[in-house]
Every structure is written in C-alpha cells, then in structure tokens.
Symmetry: D2
Amino acid sequence: MIRAAIAGASGYSGAELVRWLSGHGQVELGALAAGRSAGQPVEAVFPHLAGVAEGNLAPTDWDLLGAEADVVFLALPHGEALAAAARLLDAGARVVDLGADFRLRDPAAYRQWYGGEHTATDLLAEAAYGLTEWHRDAVAGARLVANPGCYPTASSMALKPLLEQFGDRVTAAIVIDAKSGVSGAGRNPRDGYQYSELNENFKPYATGAHRHQPEIEQELAAGGGPEAQVFFSPHLAPMTRGILAACYVPMADAPSREELEAVFLHRYAGEPFVRVLTGSALPQTKATLGSNYCDIAVRVDRARGLAVTFSAIDNLVKGAAGQAVQNMNVMFGLDETTGLLAAPVFP
Amino acid sequence: MIRAAIAGASGYSGAELVRWLSGHGQVELGALAAGRSAGQPVEAVFPHLAGVAEGNLAPTDWDLLGAEADVVFLALPHGEALAAAARLLDAGARVVDLGADFRLRDPAAYRQWYGGEHTATDLLAEAAYGLTEWHRDAVAGARLVANPGCYPTASSMALKPLLEQFGDRVTAAIVIDAKSGVSGAGRNPRDGYQYSELNENFKPYATGAHRHQPEIEQELAAGGGPEAQVFFSPHLAPMTRGILAACYVPMADAPSREELEAVFLHRYAGEPFVRVLTGSALPQTKATLGSNYCDIAVRVDRARGLAVTFSAIDNLVKGAAGQAVQNMNVMFGLDETTGLLAAPVFP
Amino acid sequence: MIRAAIAGASGYSGAELVRWLSGHGQVELGALAAGRSAGQPVEAVFPHLAGVAEGNLAPTDWDLLGAEADVVFLALPHGEALAAAARLLDAGARVVDLGADFRLRDPAAYRQWYGGEHTATDLLAEAAYGLTEWHRDAVAGARLVANPGCYPTASSMALKPLLEQFGDRVTAAIVIDAKSGVSGAGRNPRDGYQYSELNENFKPYATGAHRHQPEIEQELAAGGGPEAQVFFSPHLAPMTRGILAACYVPMADAPSREELEAVFLHRYAGEPFVRVLTGSALPQTKATLGSNYCDIAVRVDRARGLAVTFSAIDNLVKGAAGQAVQNMNVMFGLDETTGLLAAPVFP
Amino acid sequence: MIRAAIAGASGYSGAELVRWLSGHGQVELGALAAGRSAGQPVEAVFPHLAGVAEGNLAPTDWDLLGAEADVVFLALPHGEALAAAARLLDAGARVVDLGADFRLRDPAAYRQWYGGEHTATDLLAEAAYGLTEWHRDAVAGARLVANPGCYPTASSMALKPLLEQFGDRVTAAIVIDAKSGVSGAGRNPRDGYQYSELNENFKPYATGAHRHQPEIEQELAAGGGPEAQVFFSPHLAPMTRGILAACYVPMADAPSREELEAVFLHRYAGEPFVRVLTGSALPQTKATLGSNYCDIAVRVDRARGLAVTFSAIDNLVKGAAGQAVQNMNVMFGLDETTGLLAAPVFP
C-alpha cells in the first residue's frame, strides 16, 4: 500500500483527492493537512466526507508529512510549494504538486506571471510536467511532478497531436476559447463570485492575460516543433465542474477532417482516458463529469483555412486530482488506471 | 461473477445501473436492453458511456435475458414488469424491479393509483420490498425484489425509527414536504419540463395525489405499529439529482431532540449507507450526490407539538440504482457494500 | 415627482429598488447611499446599471438624505435603521425600511431574536407593517413603514384569508415549509454560500429558529382571531430569485377545496398583485420572477384533516423592493400600481 | 395607439413580445395567434401571463390579423412567413418577422441553408434587415422588417465598427465563438435538450455549419468594405437567457486597444441600447438580462496579431423581441426607446 498525504486538503482539489484516494485500493490515506481549518473534523469542513474520511484535519508539518507518507499531494496557493517540496523530498516522500510552482520551466516567466522569485530552481529543473499521456517516462522516474493546470490540460491534449503532425502549416496565433465551471476558481468566497451573480451568467475574464497562457505555449513547444503562439481566452460558465476548450488553428493547406481525425485516433489509440469522438459527436463537459476522461473531436474548414479541435474534461479530475492520481500510479509503477476507472456521473 | 442484465437501459436509472455495475467488481454486465433505442450503439444513446459499455443496446427478449443473466434489473414504465417478471423468473433469473409494479401489496391500491389491473398477484405476494435496511432478510431470500420509489426511500428512512419508537404519540397526519431534482421525472422530453421552464424555478406538483403516497403509508404501517396517515407533497427543484424530504410529525408529548436523535443513532448504528447527522448539521442533497448514502437529522419543537425529520439522498442512487445494487448484493450473499462505497461527488 | 433616496444601495435589495424606481415615472431618484462602497461609480458596483443610474454611490449622511428626499428606502443590516429612521423623519422625509428593525412590535421579541436592545420604541409603536394588501390604511397615513420580510410576505398572504375565516378550526401548529432562492441571503460572500456548494444542492437551514417565525406569528395574530402557532422551516434552493411557501394547516372539519378557494378569491378580488390560481394550476416561482405578483393556490385533504396553501413570490420584488414601492405609492396617494405593472420575465 | 398582433405567440419569442408590448404604452395588443395551442387560455400556455394578457390564443387567420392590426409580429418556424407576409401586407398591416425567411438576401443561399425554395423573392428584395443601429433609415421606411437572428445581432454589433474602420487589415477568417442560453433553442421539447442533460453541461454544436454563419457574413459585407470570412462556432451554456459572443479577428498591424475602443465609442455614441465597456470591464450576459442592451468591449494583442471583441445580449430581447419592438418604434415614427427602457434584472 502506498501511504499518501494531502496538504491543502480543505479546498476543492483536496476534497477531490480524498474521493479518489479513499477508493483507490492501493493507497492508504494518511494526513489531510490544512491551514486555518486544521484541527476541525473533516466532516465539519466537508459534510459529504462523513464516513469516508474520519478524524480531524491535521496541521501542516512538512517534516512529519514527508516522513510518514510515500507521496504527498500539494494543493496549495502558488508560492507555498516552493519550500515545501524540498522539505518533503528531503524527508523521503515523493511529491505531486497540483499548484503552479513547478509548471513554468523558466524562472523569469514564473516571476513575470506569478509575481515572486522562484526560490527552488534546482527542483524546477528536476520536476516532470505531469501531462501523463505526453510525459509518461519522465513522470515514471520523477520525485517531483508538476501537475498541469486545468486549462493547459484540456488545451494541450487537444492541440499537441495537430501540432506534432502539422505544426509547420500553422499560419498565425492559435486562439483557445475555453469555458470553465466555477469550482476552478477555488473555494475562497469573494466578491463577484457570489452564487447570485454567477448563476445564469456567462462571462469572459482575464482575456489574453491568464497565467495558463504561458504554460500552454511552453507545453505546445515541448514537442520540439516550431513554436506556436497562443491567445488564451478563458470564460466562466454557470456550472460547478467542467472545462470545454475550443482551439482555433489558422492553417495553410489544412488537412481534411478525416486526415486530422486519423492523427488524433492514432496518437491516442490505447490511451485509457482519452476518447476521440467521431461522426457527428462533439465533446460536452457533462459526458466527463466525475471521471478522468478527456473527450476530443476535430473539425476543419479548409476554405477558411481553419482547423478546430475541442476537448472536454472535468476540471477537478483530469484537470487536477484525477491526473494527479494518474501520475502517482505511474510514479509507483502501478497500472495507470488503478482506482481511476469510474464512469462519468450522468445525468 | 454475477451475470447481470438491464431492461430499460436507455433511461436515467438504466444509465446509473451501468455506472455502478460496470465498476462493481463481482458483476459481469451483459445485455443492455431497450425499446425504441434497441440496435443503437450505447454511446449514441449515452455519450458518457463511451469506453465504459461497448456494443449496441439489445432488443428486449425476455427469455433470452432470463436465460443468460443471473439477475435482471428492470427500469421500465409501470405495467411493463407485470408479465416480464414472470418470464424472467421462469427462465431462472432473479429480478430487481426498479419500477412500481410490485411495490403496493394490495392489487386494489395498484388499480386505484396506477390505473390498470394487476395481472401478477402471485408474484406480488412473493416480492420483497427492497428498502434494504428494513427488509434485509426478506430480500436475501427473494427471487423478486420491488425496489422502493425514490420518495418512499427518503421518507421511510426518515420516519420509521420515529414511528417504531413513538408511533403511539402521533396525533395527526404526517406531512412530508419533499423536493426532488428533475432526473426523477425520467428522460422523456415533454411540455412543462423544458430546461428554460424548470431552470430558476421551484414548484409543487401532484400535491396529495402522488403515487408514492400510498407506498409510503404502506411501508410506515409495515412495522406493525399504529397506522400513520401521510400527506405527501412533492416539489420539483431546479437541479438534476437529489431528494430532500422534510417530515413533519405532530406529536403529543414529543420526545426531546436528544431522545429522538438517540433512537435514530441506535437504529442505524452500523448501517454503512446511513449517516445520522448531529449537532448543527442538517442533510443537504449535494453531500450525497453520486453516492448511496442517506443522510438524516432530526429536530423537535415540543412547545408546538412537532417532531421534524429530514433526509437527503441521491434519487438515482439510494433512490434507484444504488439501492437496487445493494439489494442484489444481499440477494447473492455478497457483502452489502460491494461496489457501492464511492464517496459523494462534491462540489 | 417624488424625490426618493436609497440607503444601503450596494446590496441586492438596493439594486432592485433602483430598477423599479428608475422606471417608475413619478419618482426622481436621488442619492444612492452606501457604506464601504461609497464613492465608487454605480456601474463599478452594479455593471448592469450602466446607463440606468449614473454617478457615484454617496456616503450615508442621514441629515442630507432626509433633507433632500421625500422618501428614503432603507436596505440596511438590522440595527442600523433604529437611529437612522428618527433622523430621517426629523429631517422631514418619510421612510420605508426594508430591514427588520420595525417589524416586531414587541421590543422584548426584538431583543430575543435580533440580539440587541430596541432603541427606538416610540417609532416602533408608530410604524405601519407594510403588507400592503392587509394594512393599506395604516400605510397610507404612516411616516414610517416596516416592509415585511420576504418569507413573512409569502406566508402571510397564503394564510391570512384562511385564518380570518376558519381560524377557529385550526387544531395544531401550522407548518410553513418555505424554499428560497439564494439572493435572499444577501450579497456578502461567505463560507457555505459559494456557488459550487449551493449549485445542484437543496438544503434546510435554521429549522424552527429563523427570525421570520415570530414575525409570521405576529402578523397571523394581527387579524384579531385566535392565535396561530407557526413552525417555520426554511430551505435554500439552487436558484437566484423566488420563494415558494407551502403552508400546512391541521384543521378539524376542514372546508372543502372549493369553499376555501372561494374565500381566497373573494378576499383578493380586485387586488392587482395577487393571483389566486384555480383548477389544476399551482404556484411556481418562475411565473412571478421579476414581477410584484404573489400567486396563491389551495388544496384540502379532509380525510387527513389538512388544508394546504401555496404561495410564490419573487423575494426581491413582492418580498422586498416591489412591495416597498407599492407602499410608497400608497403613502404618497398614487395609484398603488404605478410603476409596478411589469410582466414577469419568462422563461 | 398602434394595434399590434403576434403570430406564433405560444413560443418564447412570442411570450417575450407580450411582455414588452403589454407595457409599451403606445401599443394596443390584439390577437395572440398560435397553431396547435389556439383556443387555449393564454394563462394555460403561459402561467406567468395571468392578469397580463387575458383571453384565449387565437387561430392564425392571416387576413383577419392583417386587417385588424397595424403591425404583426411573426415568430414562426422558417418557411411559414413566406406566404404569410404577403397576405398581411396585402391586408394593410406592416410586418416584423422574427424568423429567418427574409434575412438572407440571396434566394440561393436561403435554399442552401434552409432547405426550401424562397417563394417570396419580391418581398425579400423589399425587406429591411432590422439591425436597428445599422439600418435605421431602411427600417423607418419599410413595410417588412427581417429581424436579425440572435447570434447575428450579437456578432454584427461587435464586429461592424472594427470592419468599417480596419476591414482592410483583416488577414484571415474571423472566428466567432458564441455561447447561448437554452431558450434560443425554442420551446419544443426534444431529445438531448432535457433539463438533466443540459444542466451542468457546456457543449458546442453545429460548428461551422450553423444557419447564422451566412447571415453574419452577409451583414458584415453590407458596409461595402472588403468581404470578411467568418467561422461561426456556437455553444450551448447551462442557462436560460443570454448570448456572449467572442469575436477573434486576425489582423496585420492591429490598432491599439485604445484606438479600437475609440472607434467603438464613437460609432455607438448616443445609441441608447449600446454600452461600450472600458477599463477592466468585460461584457457578461447577466448584466443585460431582461433588457434591450448590447454590451461591448474590445481587447487587442498586437504581438499575436489579434483583435478581440466581445458582446453580450439577452437573446430574447435585443436578440429577438426587444429589437423587434425597437424596429416597430422606428417604423411608426415613435421615439426608438419607447417602452424599452427597462433596467436589466440583476441578480
């Protein structure tokens, strides 16, 4: 049994980790550590976990966590994992960081987008970027995995096969118009995010200025092909879970839809968590809700010089806790699907 | 492995059965039979099941189903199970009927509330009423289980311990004000149930005239105590899943809240799917979403001569497919929790 | 033109007052006063009001407000209107208080339920309770109107005709099971009210302990008949606006539905904002959304000794700002419907 | 008073027309004609209209409608207005068609996208395209106005000022990623549009193949500048009302944001229903809900060669009934804002 602990357990990603790890089968769930909620019974913070996770939220003692756990999942505000990761690794634990601290490889980019010095650049160099389907080998050997952001997961899954094959035909900036459920904004109550103001409302935010834009550009360039420029345009949809990304790729001599579809089908053949939809089907967030699936479809308008790829995920599963567990499975040599094969919750 | 089949697989209860049975561990999922959708690929009818359940929906051939399956789950419109059950039992399968055909013990009541003759009264006499926590022994020995309605499940779980202990103090009709998510109305599109008319809307329906009222009265009388009159008042809430039942019990010499709470804690001690909430906690549907839990809490106003019990369930799980699987586990001698211990999906 | 001002304009009731007053026709809308938002442009606080209400939110200067306005609407946390009302009246303005400070006639009850001394008991004695359809004459002559709470409005409208006629037949405590949209909880962000935790969730709260319970009991006794005991059981529904109240009245020798319906039809004949539904129709919140209507229907189960009355309102209109404007119309001798005859927004 | 009638009154656009016309002030609302609902009381079809619109839905008698009304609003399935318009005009009425029959100027395009012959090409030539802010003069003199589609309204309002000024700098196909509430799909219940399947779901549909794509391309070319290619990508959002359009325009030598903003501010200065948002504000559907406003904002990423314009409308108001009334006001020489100056409903 893998002994696992969670730091930042009082947020939504933390709760989702508990859901997956408590039913994993190969994991013994240890400390659920939190900040200001430490000491409270789990069910006071998460009523749905009564009977699932007993006891109290623990204080965040990095040395203790690192000593008692084989793997620690970090679900912390950015900046907080910089020092924590080192201490956990020193104490002998492996780390899956669901936050942003080890995603951008360039410390200067980190400073620019997150507003602070990166104080753990050695670990930054070591960290594997945990988009599992694309970096499985690196993850397998890693002590520290940077779990991708929710938007970058959806976007990269939908774009990398296209760019790998046809990257040289892209003629201009790729537009990613992404829509997320509200849980992606975290659990902290704040102005503008009241129920009554988000419900029955659809709105853009942080257009062209979201921290996930450089993460996506970095990952799209990771294949080694020509660099792709990305314009990232996120929106908030009146729902709790789910991301739908629409990726618009201006192309010269665009492939046919069949040709493009074949590339995706081939690339993701055998991937247990990727479903490439064909025919008239298009991804929809609800078809992935509660599951680790990433659904993808493509369309092409050759006359207008445009390929379009769609992807849908559950932002808290494939976009956070699910992929984190998927990475843990890889890190510990388990079958990658262990504990993750739940069907989506529908309707 | 138990070989299971589903008839009526193209509805919401059918899909939910697939979700639970496909991850059950002790079940081999066979035919998914449907009516007008027969012949279609599963994923055309339920996109979320791509990769979960392969193949096509089967036509409904009772003899074949009965021969090939150890247990057949029926998720059919009322009336359709009357003949089907007999044929399935004759063919050697056991049956869990999620519909209404074997719930009311009195054929006259069936005729009155469902508007047709009951043509399988011998099976009616034989059927066990599958409110598992209360009829475990009968279920264990049954060939045919009548899975309770969603509202009766929530209501009976919240009232039976009170009536068992204090039934003689009830002074007038019990009012059950219940609120359900829309999935309880089934998958058939119809006027008045359009998204735009239910969304941001809360409304009562079938007040005092719902078919679940006699089912609840029957089950509350099943304990052998004094008969309780029930006034059942259902409502539709703008959400997909969940039932919240508030049961108002007029009482002379009402027990204290502590006394009543102790009765519930005692009665449900050790029940893996019942959580009796204490302190300031109250049930909420979301804390049970996607799980087989039934959450219960009690309040008492002695000055006003009133006890109140609340329960929350997921109408498609404990109120339908989950309890059906729970009953199957009991029927086949498995641990009752097999395949059912998933944590709720939150948020 | 009536010069009107609003104190507490940055909350939801404040915004709703702006919506109605800006299109009223007989009102000149003056200062929109606020606390911590004072000095900000209206459209920074309420983007939807761009082009509707210009300028900045004003600081709350009671003397100035009282001097410049003919009527001041107070939409303040409880306690804050106690001193403000006196200063506004002294300065010559009339006051419609949408808060709770002048609703309970008994200062001891105020202390018990709101936790502070009532320091304006002379005004308390003077204030008219603004359930317009029932206290029109008092409102017409009042300098100070206590606008009823949202739940008490829905509940009293649904119960008073019954009690007026049949109050002596009530045999036990009346149960009011009420369901409200989230806007009733105000604009302040707080734990437990995050979008992701209320969405797709239905839950009770403050069962038997809500501050509106004594207000309802007081108003039901106002008719002079026998006192009615009320058990008030509020719930939160996953929607922004709307209240649906179900009132369960245990009765000996209950009238027939037709008889009871006739009482309601007679009592509310000619009332422009009350719609008594007959036949199979039942109130639903969406049919009142955005309007000042109160929809009512009745049902009777004589065998079970129970009458049931339902009412639906928009909590921010008939339950707050709309009724406040209705009261203003009465206070200033305008036609009561002036500026209020908007059709509901549907779907 | 203008005598107005509605054909197709039993749908959502019909109901919305009733809402606006019943409170218009200069309109006498006559027949509400319907198809299969004819003969039913208005409040049976639309409970929210009890007390607002009395009487029964009328049968659709074109000659009678044309004779008794000064203006007839058509809210019909496409194809049905082809013959109706002629008969109404012959009878002396003017016509505002909310359907698609007179939007595409080219009968061949009509055949291609709507699948039938256009049998009223003379009227097609005569019809004014009722995007009021852009074709005010044509509307003023028209007997027949083709009210724009909801998506084309949002899209054209957000793109025309840019193209007018900078059309020659556009380098590739414009991508319009639009998100609509469900009411845009009409009132007819159908598979895939059940509440439980759209709620908590976000999904694309008809990508690059929606009938509004040629309508948008036609209108963007109407300015006389270089033709713009449009790729139209609609999505369904889990809400009832609202459209948010994000328009991505690839540009060489893109103007600065300030420059582009100035163009929009100038073009829409004095327009009562257009709000150009500046600073950090972005359009959101809820800020327009229930109103005739169109909110617009722009962003520019010069490094990536991209201008982005956003617009938000209520699809049933500015996208349908509200703009139809706006056009009627213009046709009859009234102040364009008559009866339309309602503030949005928020929250």
